[in-house]
């Protein structure tokens, strides 16, 4: 009864053609990830060794390891997290649990979008003007980390808000009906049910923070500093800036060295992101409501 007409067949061909075209476009976007990883691993792995990770750079950064840069990045990320998690989680709790639908909330959302959209170099200018000079922290881990914290704040806020909003409203209502205050409900019911979702956001923030370069260039990261910082008021090396320096500023660097640094940096970042994605998938499968 249903015979395929010429028109049907033509539409079908167009449909298949478009499908292939879009598939091709998608693949052209994602293929670079795989190619880049492949090239970095191929060219960078000869440089990798235990000594590369645990030794200081030597010979004007043309040899040796990346130990102080690696530790510096970890320090910067930790301090940034300590600063941004409380503020970000509080902001998310406000937006998810308290905020009425009014102009102020819209303004806050607009500010969050803008905070995420301000160029990283402008964050660097702000960090220099505010933390290094005005508050007198000097070029230090503290100034750099606070700059990073403000820059990555939207990541924490948005992901935390999403996981708070995913907790069903009925959970809150049940708790209120028992006579609990709003805050008791948030602490005892909402946050415990959202904590793993918040965690995925924080891991994502770690990954973002570790890779940033521009915001720390003038606020606390040093080109070359072959010892570890002793307090948050010291400068430090950082992996991202170190990659920039060995790739562009230092002459006669053996080819494998910057590839090695890039591989460690991207490895760190992608492991964090994969962990976040993995955790998210486990959570989605386990979700009971």
């Amino acid at each position: 009864m249903f015979e395929s007409t010429e028109l049907n067949a033509r539409n079908w061909r167009i449909q298949q053609g478009m499908r292939l075209l879009f598939l091709g476009m998608t693949l052209l976007l994602v293929l670079p990830v795989i190619i880049i990883l492949g090239v970095l691993i191929y060219k960078g792995s000869p440089a990798l060794s235990w000594a590369f990770l645990t030794e200081n750079p030597t010979n004007g950064m043309t040899a040796g390891g990346i130990f102080p840069a690696l530790m510096g990045t970890i320090a910067l990320v930790l301090v940034a997290l300590i600063a941004s998690i409380p503020v970000g989680v509080a902001a998310a709790i406000y937006l998810s649990e308290y905020a009425p639908d009014n102009w102020l909330t819209r303004l806050i959302n607009l500010a969050i979008i803008n905070l995420a959209g301000v160029p990283s170099i402008v964050h660097a200018l702000f960090g220099l003007g505010a933390f290094v000079l005005f508050f007198g922290f000097g070029t230090s881990i503290l100034a750099a980390s606070l700059t990073l914290a403000i820059m990555t704040l939207p990541v924490v806020i948005v992901s935390t808000r999403e996981s708070l909003q995913a907790v069903p409203q009925s959970f809150r209502e049940a708790c209120w009906n028992m006579g609990a205050t709003r805050w008791q409900t948030i602490v005892r019911v909402v946050l415990p049910n959202a904590v793993s979702g918040i965690l995925t956001g924080i891991i994502l923030e770690v990954s973002r923070t570790a890779g940033e370069t521009a915001p720390i260039m003038f606020t606390g990261a040093a080109f070359f500093l072959p010892f570890l910082p002793e307090s948050v008021f010291d400068q430090t090396m950082a992996l991202s800036l170190h990659l920039f320096v060995v790739a562009t500023q230092v002459p006669n660097v053996p080819e494998s060295l910057p590839y090695g640094v890039a591989l460690v940096l991207i490895g760190m970042v992608l492991i964090m992101n994969s962990a976040s994605i993995g955790l998210r998938m486990v959570l989605r499968n386990r979700k009971k409501w």
Binding site: I36, V39, A90, Y94, I113, I121, V122, G129, W183
Partner: protein, 299 residues
């Protein structure tokens, strides 16, 4: 019956915490205003005293370190940023929208998950690593393929930036497509439309505001990118007339020169003025994107 006073310890904790999270809530506004105030504070003296607006916007001579006669013409830098961002957006729009359509309308199940994860990983690559890729992989590739002396140019930075802007455009465009109610699709399919006809005639028009916002946010991302552009664009002051010209971007200029200036000097203030310009443009782009998005919700 007399009312019992409910203001016990928990009542006070509740009120106190409500105020605290409110402070957290408005922090984003405080920080945005703070960013604006602090960069203006450092750059203000230049704008009011030394800046010649015509020179700043229309003169290509950026010679801040000249001893006798420093000039602060940002035209070449603006042209550099515009050419790189323009090329990036031109490359990125079709591919990002294509990928968004494929992921939202055609792909299913596991394929869809894997593609989304790969796009997310694309977004995770740090900008300094992109810059390094431009320097070490794209540079020789462009020299070989097009037989040009230098591979650090608009093409290189534009392609890198297109790949960096693609994930945000794809993700937001996909969200916009997903937000189109399924009953639209079902109604069209019931009339015998193919998946492509549904997409072209129903889904794309319905999602057009979201797609516009996606493009705008992608533009903002490209416009503000610093390290990748600094490393891949060649970083030479130049009003370009072709894809293979090296250029210098606004962001890259700040990154490259700020370290060498004395705090409070004219050069230092001029760099902050570039920062104010960057802040203003991204603010307008983000505001427009937000208004466009709000447009969908209302209609």
């Amino acid at each position: 019956m007399q009312h019992e006073d409910v203001r016990d310890f928990h009542w006070y904790v509740d009120k106190a915490m409500a105020s605290l999270v409110f402070l957290g809530g408005i922090s984003a506004i405080v920080f945005i205003i703070g960013i604006f105030l602090f960069i203006t504070r450092e750059g203000f003296a230049f704008i009011t005293q030394s800046m010649d607006i015509r020179e700043f916007f229309f003169d290509p001579a950026w010679r801040p370190t000249s001893d006798s006669n420093p000039t602060y013409g940002a035209f070449a830098l603006i042209a550099g940023t515009a050419s790189i961002t323009g090329l990036a957006v031109l490359l990125s729009i079709p591919f990002s929208l294509g990928a968004a359509i494929y992921i939202a309308e055609f792909a299913e199940g596991r394929t869809r998950e894997i593609l989304k994860i790969l796009i997310e990983l694309l977004a995770a690559i740090p900008s300094v690593v992109w810059g390094f890729i431009g320097l070490s992989i794209m540079n020789p590739l462009i020299i070989d393929m097009f037989d040009v002396p230098v591979g650090l140019n608009i093409l290189n930075a534009g392609v890198i930036l297109a790949l960096m802007a693609a994930p945000i455009m794809t993700t937001i465009a996909e969200d916009a497509l997903k937000a189109v109610p399924d009953r639209y699709r079902e109604a069209a399919e019931a009339l015998g439309a193919t998946r492509w006809q549904v997409t072209l005639k129903i889904v794309l028009p319905a999602a057009k505001h979201g797609l516009m916002a996606a493009v705008l946010l992608g533009v903002g991302r490209g416009f503000g990118e610093t390290m990748a552009v600094l490393m891949a664009s060649g970083h030479s002051i130049n009003v370009p007339d072709g894809l293979f010209d090296s250029v210098r971007a606004l962001t890259a200029t700040i990154a490259a020169e700020l370290g060498e200036t004395a705090v409070g000097s004219e050069h230092y203030q001029a760099l902050f003025t570039l920062g104010i310009l960057l802040f203003a443009v991204t603010f307008i782009i983000n505001l427009t994107a937000d208004l466009v998005m709000r447009g969908i919700k209302r209609s």
